[in-house]
């Protein structure tokens, strides 16, 4: 019914309803390789629900989500992750009681089965990879810090790092700069630009300035439907968007 495409992610006819209320309504949406795509829209527009649907947290009522031509709607969450989809949550979701190093280690894509986890050993390869990622997310000096003690921005980075260590083909970030200072935002924008090389990135954001800094492509979501898609300028000048979202 849904054909294969060249896109990294192809969402077609996606619908989910809660108690008769359609949170996402017949959504069609494509994401190219190496594309950094930002979804904006007011709260309740269904942005987070779309991420939930892609990563399997919520089951779709109908429609298809294809990742590298593999149907995701039938997979369980961990299988979707193993297929190469990483997802960062809105509030930083890290293990507060573990150190930064342990946080990354736990996320290292080895020993994912029960017995693998029992037998897992911290080898040099693992350590090297951890250091590499930590450098990328600007936390190399904090490896032995308990994650709960990090600043808000650093926690956001750590969670991104926990995804990077798994080297996903698709990275989904829900409001990655919420609560960050201006300087941290800039660093994050840099980080995102860097990591979008070689993989597709899907970001949910409000901050229009930040969106302008990073987005290759923008989609405006409103009441579960797409209002407009295109680059930043197109979207900002779209009469629909102005009417419904931005206001005159």
């Amino acid at each position: 019914m849904y054909s294969n495409t060249d896109y990294t992610l192809a969402v077609e006819g996606l619908t989910v309803s809660f108690d008769g209320f359609k949170a996402v309504d017949d959504l069609n949406f494509y994401l190219d390789k190496n594309e950094l795509h930002v979804v904006i829209g007011p709260n309740g527009a269904g942005k987070t629900t779309v991420l939930d649907l892609i990563c399997g947290k919520t089951k779709a009522t109908s429609g298809s989500i294809k990742f590298l031509n593999q149907e995701l709607t039938e997979l369980s969450e961990h299988a979707i992750v193993r297929a190469g989809v990483g997802r960062k949550f809105q509030t930083p979701s890290i293990y507060e009681n573990l150190t930064v190093l342990e946080n990354l280690e736990v996320s290292y894509p080895q020993g994912r089965g029960v017995f693998g986890a029992l037998m897992f050993k911290r080898t040099q390869t693992v350590l090297d990879k951890i250091h590499e990622i930590a450098r990328e997310i600007m936390l190399e000096t904090e490896l032995d810090t308990e994650a709960g003690l990090l600043s808000h921005g650093q926690k956001q980075w750590l969670e991104i790092g926990m995804l990077l260590i798994q080297d996903p083909q698709l990275l989904m970030l829900d409001e990655p700069v919420a609560g960050m200072s201006v300087k941290e935002r800039e660093q994050t924008a840099e980080l995102l630009n860097k990591i979008s090389m070689g993989r597709s990135v899907l970001v949910i954001e409000h901050d229009m300035e930040f969106v302008a800094q990073i987005a290759h492509k923008v989609t405006v979501l409103h009441q579960g439907k797409i209002l407009a898609t295109g680059d930043m300028a197109e979207v900002q000048n779209d009469p629909n968007v102005i009417e419904v979202y931005l206001g005159h």
Binding site: D19, P42, N43, G44, S181, Q223, G247
Partner: protein, 229 residues
């Protein structure tokens, strides 16, 4: 109307609000601006009594409410629209508003509320959780208004709201101020919204007030500077 002196608030061992003093007269709208993590929400929570103050006093219309529970503060005239709205998702819109009528002893929802927010009348039998963000924000304000407050607290009312609705909310706030003798305190990061509603602006940073201006004296560049360090 609202007097706060030497207010200190702590989470566990660490003090987040370091001895704030301010007072807001009747019919004034005060905006408290600051970046994330600077103590805005903590301040609001301690004003409504969700977080206890470790030191200092808060009084409304001359009544000391420092040691009161939240609901008693509401009885004394404080109303609270929290960050993220926090409407009751599985109650209907009508029921959501009615939860605020506990204190005012009203029997039915006054017409002026629906006049202010026509969309809520339209959706009065829908579940609150199925409203859009902007609608939820209106609902949260309506819920606060039916308590007949003397002081209305709004914590980041524009967060996550589409720009078009932000303007509506500003209009509503100004409307409310005209209709009632009410003190409004709003916390914000969006300067344009602040400028549309506030009579006075205070900037908070690291749990302390660092700057204060009447709206007419505001140097927007300076404020923007504070907000983006």
């Amino acid at each position: 109307m609202l007097n706060v002196s030497n207010l200190k608030v702590s989470y566990g061992q660490s003090e987040v609000i370091h001895g704030l003093d301010f007072s807001v007269p009747k019919n004034e709208t005060l905006a408290i601006m600051g970046r994330n993590g600077m103590g805005k929400t903590t301040l609001f929570k301690s004003l409504i009594g969700v977080l206890p103050a470790s030191e200092g006093t808060i009084s409304v219309d001359g009544v000391d409410v420092t040691s009161c529970e939240s609901y008693q503060r509401v009885e004394n005239g404080i109303a609270y629209v929290p960050q993220g709205r926090m409407i009751f998702p599985s109650l209907t819109v009508k029921e959501n508003i009615e939860t605020g009528m506990e204190v005012s002893k009203m029997k039915t929802i006054p017409d002026e509320i629906y006049a202010l927010f026509p969309v809520l009348h339209e959706m009065r039998n829908r579940k609150g959780g199925n409203l859009s963000g902007g609608q939820q924000q209106q609902l949260a304000i309506a819920r606060a208004l039916v308590t007949n407050p003397k002081v209305l607290l709004l914590d980041e009312p524009t967060e996550g709201i589409q720009p078009s609705i932000i303007k509506d909310i500003a209009n509503v706030l100004n409307e409310i101020k005209k209709m009632r003798d009410i003190t409004i305190i709003v916390s914000e990061q969006v300067l344009s919204f602040t400028m549309a509603v506030a009579d006075r602006i205070i900037v908070i940073d690291g749990g302390k007030f660092i700057h204060e201006d009447r709206r007419e004296d505001v140097d927007t560049e300076q404020i923007r500077g504070y907000l983006s360090v």
